[in-house]
C-alpha cells in the first residue's frame, strides 16, 4: 500500500491542508422498514407505504426488523469493523412535520458497529486508508411536499421509518479527490454486499461532509458541515469551494464559525443553513420501547461466512490468478456489475488461463470504451458476456485476428448474433494456409524490389511488408504466418 500525497491549497500566506470527515447515510436494502412491517418500495403514491407505527399513532410500538440488523452487521464486516454484540437504540428528539413521532430512533452512545477501515484507491496507483468511526442504524424521515397547495405543505410518510445506516468516517480525508474516491469505494462495497443499492439520485446514499482547513500538519481548524449531498461530483465541488472560502476568511484574519451549510450546485457555492447556536438540543436518551439490541458471536460468524467476495479481495485474485495489472483489476472491480460481467466472460472462455488477460483488455478497452461513447452502463450492454467470450475464444484459438475481432465486435454490437456463426457466414476466418498467402507474398516482393533489398539492412522495415500482405488479404491472413513467410522469402 502506498500512501497518497494529497493536494494542498495555495493561499496568499502559504499552503493549507484540508481535513475532511464524512457521514454517509445509506438506505438499507430490505423489504420492510426498520421498526414496522410497511414496504420500503420507492415511488409509491404518497402515504401508501405507511403503517400505524410510521404514522406514530397513539400507543404504537416499534419492533426491530431483524433483516436490517443483519444488513448493518454485514456492512460492518465489509468495512473490517468491530461488531458490537450489544447496542442501544436512542431517541433523538426534535419537532418537524416529516417526523411523526417527534423523535428519530437512532443509536447514539452504543452503535451496532464500531471502528473499521476502508482502503481507497486513487489515480496513479496511490491509495489511502480511511478510518471508520462507527456505523449505526436509524430511521429515515418522511418528505414534505410544498407544491401541492398554495397555502399548505403536505407530508408524504412513505420514507418515514425506512432503515438507514449512518457510516461515520474518521477525519482522515485530505482533499476532494480522496473524498470522492472514498464515497465511490464505500458505495462499491455496499453494492457488493447488497446492503444498499447506492442510488444517489433517489437519495438512497447521501453524505454530510465536514470540512476544515489548517496549516499542513498543524492543529485542527474549526469545521463546517455541508449537509445532504447526493452526487459525488457535487461533493468534490463543494469541498473545493468550502475550503477556499475558509482559507479566504482565515487569511483575512477572520475566524470560522462552526455551522451547518448547504451546497448550491447551480451557483457552485455553499451557504449557511444554521449556526452552532441554533443547533438543536436533541435530548438523546435510550428508547424505553426497545430493549438493547443483542446478538451472539455465532450470529456474526454466520453472516461473515456468507459474505460475498468484496472488491479488494477480487482485485487481489484477478492480479494473482490471471496476471492482470493492478490498474486493470481495479477498473474491473470498481463496480459490482462490471466485475460480474467480466467474471461471466471468464466462465465462458474455452481457455481462461490463456485468454483471461485478453478478456480484461477487451472488457476495459473495447466494451467500456464503446459503452462510455454511447453513455450506457454495463447492464445495458448490447454485447453480452457470452458473445464477448465467443469473440475472445475466436481470437485465442487463431480463427480471427485482433483486427477482424474488432469488426466482429461492431457487427455483434449493431446486429447481435452468434459470433462464431457470423465469422463463418461472413467469411471472416483468418487465413493460416501458407500456400494461399504465399502467392500474395511473392507478388508484393516482386512489385517492390527496392524495398526488398533495403529490408536486409533494415529489418525494422519488415513491418511495411506485413502491412501490405495483411491489406491484400483483407486482414484475414494470420499475422504471425505472414511474418514468418516474409522472413524466409526475404532471407532475413
Amino acid at each position: 500500500m502506498s500512501t497518497a500525497t494529497h493536494k494542498l491549497l495555495k493561499g496568499a500566506t502559504g499552503d493549507w491542508e484540508m481535513v475532511i470527515g464524512m457521514e454517509i447515510h445509506a438506505q438499507v436494502t430490505s423489504n420492510s422498514k426498520l421498526f414496522s412491517g410497511a414496504s420500503t418500495e420507492f415511488g409509491g403514491e404518497p402515504n401508501t407505504h405507511v403503517s400505524l407505527v410510521d404514522a406514530a399513532m397513539p400507543g404504537m410500538l416499534p419492533v426491530i426488523n431483524e433483516e436490517c440488523v443483519r444488513q448493518a452487521v454485514r456492512t460492518g464486516l465489509g468495512l473490517n469493523a468491530r461488531i458490537n454484540l450489544r447496542s442501544v437504540f436512542d431517541r433523538k428528539n426534535y419537532f418537524y412535520p416529516d417526523l411523526p413521532q417527534g423523535y428519530q430512533i437512532s443509536q447514539y452512545k452504543s452503535p451496532v458497529v464500531g471502528e473499521g477501515e476502508v482502503l481507497v484507491e486513487l489515480d496513479g496507483g496511490r491509495s489511502v486508508t480511511v478510518g471508520i468511526e462507527r456505523l449505526h442504524l436509524e430511521q429515515d424521515a418522511g418528505k414534505l411536499l410544498h407544491d401541492q397547495s398554495p397555502s399548505m405543505s403536505h407530508v408524504d410518510l412513505n420514507r418515514s421509518g425506512v432503515a438507514l445506516m449512518e457510516i461515520v468516517s474518521k477525519p482522515d480525508i485530505r482533499d476532494a479527490e480522496q473524498a470522492k474516491a472514498y464515497v465511490t469505494k464505500l458505495r462499491s462495497i455496499l453494492r457488493y454486499l447488497g446492503t444498499c443499492d447506492g442510488d444517489m439520485e433517489k437519495g438512497n446514499l447521501r453524505a454530510d461532509v465536514n470540512v476544515s482547513v489548517r496549516r499542513p500538519g498543524g492543529p485542527l481548524g474549526t469545521r463546517c458541515e455541508i449537509k445532504n449531498m447526493n452526487s459525488i461530483t457535487f461533493i468534490g465541488q463543494a469541498i473545493e469551494y468550502e475550503a477556499r472560502r475558509q482559507i479566504e476568511i482565515l487569511e483575512d484574519g477572520g475566524a470560522i464559525d462552526q455551522e451547518t451549510r448547504l451546497y448550491d450546485p447551480n451557483k457552485g457555492e455553499t451557504r449557511s443553513m444554521r449556526s452552532k447556536e441554533e443547533a438543536h438540543d436533541y435530548r438523546y436518551f435510550p428508547d424505553p420501547d426497545l430493549l438493547p439490541l443483542e446478538f451472539s458471536q455465532s450470529f456474526v460468524d454466520e453472516l461473515r461466512a456468507k459474505l460475498p467476495e468484496l472488491p479488494d479481495q477480487k482485485k487481489t485474485r484477478f492480479v494473482a490468478d490471471l496476471g492482470l495489472s493492478a490498474y486493470d483489476a481495479s477498473v474491473l472491480v470498481a463496480e459490482r456489475e462490471s466485475a460480474d460481467f467480466y467474471e461471466t466472460v471468464l466462465d465462458r472462455l474455452a481457455n481462461r488461463s490463456r485468454d483471461g488477460k485478453m478478456a480484461a483488455n477487451w472488457v476495459i478497452n473495447e466494451l467500456f470504451g464503446r459503452l462510455n461513447k454511447e453513455g450506457r452502463d454495463i447492464t445495458g450492454s448490447p454485447v453480452t458476456a457470452e458473445q464477448l467470450a465467443a469473440i475472445i475464444d475466436l481470437i485465442g484459438e487463431g480463427t480471427i485476428s485482433g483486427k477482424i475481432a474488432k469488426d466482429l465486435f461492431e457487427i455483434v454490437w449493431q446486429e447481435g448474433g452468434d459470433p462464431r456463426a457470423l465469422v463463418e457466414s461472413r467469411g471472416m476466418k483468418q487465413v493460416t494456409d501458407l500456400s494461399a498467402i504465399e502467392k500474395v507474398v511473392d507478388d508484393i516482393i516482386a512489385a517492390n524490389p527496392d524495398k526488398a533489398a533495403q529490408v536486409k539492412d533494415k529489418p525494422q522495415s519488415l513491418g511495411w511488408f506485413v502491412g501490405q500482405v495483411m491489406k491484400a488479404s483483407g486482414g484475414k491472413a494470420n499475422p504471425q504466418s505472414v511474418n514468418d513467410l516474409l522472413k524466409s522469402k526475404l532471407g532475413i
Binding site: 406514530a56 419537532f95 417527534g102 438523546y284
Partner: protein
Amino acid sequence: MTDLTSLTLAEARKGLADKTFTSLELTDAHLSAMEAARALNAFVLETPDQARAMAREADGKIAKGDAGPLAGIPLGIKDLFATEGIRTTACSKILGDFKPPYESTVTKQLWRDGAVLLGKLNNDEFAMGSSNETSCFGPVVNPWRREGSNTTLVPGGSSGGSASAVAALLCMGATATDTGGSIRQPAAFTATVGIKPTYGRCSRWGIVAFASSLDQAGPIARSVRDCAMLLRSMAGHDPKDTTSVDIAVPNYEAAIGKSVKGMRIGIPREYRLDGMPAEIEKLWEAGAAWLKAAGAELVEVSLPHTKYALPAYYIVAPAEASSNLARYDGVRYGLREQGRNIIEMYENSRAEGFGAEVKRRVMIGTYVLSAGYYDAYYLRAQKVRTLIKKDFEDCFAKGVDAILTPATPSAAFGIGEKGGADPVEMYLNDIFTVTVNMAGLPGIAVPAGKDAQGLPLGLQLIGRPFDEETLFSLGEVIEQAAGRFTPVRWW
C-alpha cells in the same frame, strides 16, 4: 333476584353459565346504573349499542356452549386503551375526537374471551395525576363520602374512572394502567382491588403511552378473585411489544384460596414514614396480623433507597413523557390550532390541547434530558432506579415471598383540596407505590379497613417478578379477614 350489578364477576359468571340471567340482562342493568350515576363522571363515553350487540353475541355463544372465560361480562375500559372505531382520547383535548383504526392488545384479548364493552372510563389526562382531576372531561367523583359529609372526594388517579365505576357498581371490572400507582392508589381510595402486574406481563401495544418503561396495564375489580380472572385474559406475550415477556400466563384463579402457610412476608422499615397517620399504622399492623394468623411468617426487611424513589420517579417518568407526547403536534390527528407557520401551529395546538399538569411534566422532562442536565438528573435517576431494584432483589434473595405496605399515606381527599399550590403535595400520594414501578414488580392493593371518617383504606402487597399468584393468594387472605366494603349510594 338481587340487583345484577352487585354481583361479583365470579358470581355473574356462574349466573350466566346457569342461565339464571342473560348477558343482555346483565349488560342492561349496568347501562341503567351508568345512566343513573352520571354525577360520578366515571364514564367519558357510553357505548350502549356496542354493549348490547356484544352481550347478544356472548349470549349466543353461552347457549352454544363455547363461551370464553369472560363471556358476557360487562366491563369499563380506561380511555387510555385504543378501541377500534370508538373515541379514545386519554382524556386530553389534544386527541379531540380521535377514533383509532385499531384495538389495543389487552382489550382485544378481553373481547376474544367474551367480555362486553360498556364504555370508556375517565382518567387523569395522559394518566398524569393522582386524583383524576386533570382530565379534560372534568374530575371523577368518588362514590365514597366521609360519614355525615356531602363533600365530594376524589377517587384517586390516574385510573379514577375505573375505580369509581367499579366501586359504584357501574361495571363488573375495568381495565386500568399504572405508571406510579395509578391502579393501586385509586383502588385503595374506593375499596376496590387493583393489581399492577409485573412490567412486561401485559402488552402495552395500543395503550396511549405515558412513561414507557413504567406503564403497565392491569385490572380493577371488586374482589381478588375477579382481578385474577381479568388479569388472565389481559396478560400475555405480544410480538408487537418487545418489552412484553414470553412467559406462559398461569390460571391466576387457582391461586385463590391457596395456603399461605410458611410464606415469608417482609415489612419494610423505610415505609414507616414520619407523621404517618396512626390509622394507617394500625391498618398495616392488622394486615400483618391477618397474614400471620393464616400461617405466614413476618420479617422486618430494609429497602434503603426508598426515600429516593419519588424524586427519581419524577425525573424518569416526565423525561419519557416529554418524548412520548411529542407526537401530539397537530399534524396528523387530533386537535390543530392554526398558526402563521409550523412552529406557531405546534405551539398553539399544544398550548390549547394539553392541560396544566401535562405541560408541567413535559417541561420537567424536557429540562432533565437537555444538554448539560442529562447526567445530573436523568442518568442519576436511572442509577437510583437500579439501586431500588437491587433493594428488592436483595430482599427476595433472603427468602421473602412478598412485601406488605400501606397502599397510600391517607384516605381519599376532597376535590380541589390538594396540589393547588404545590404539585409535590399531590405527588406524595404515590410514595408507597412508585418504588414498585421503578423496580418493575407486581403490586396489588386490597381494601383492608376504614379510617375514622368511614373512608376506605388499602394495603399493598409487592411480589417477585411474574409471581402475581402469590399476591392473589395473600390478597385473598386480607380480603377474607377485612371483609368487603361497599359505598352507600347517594347519587
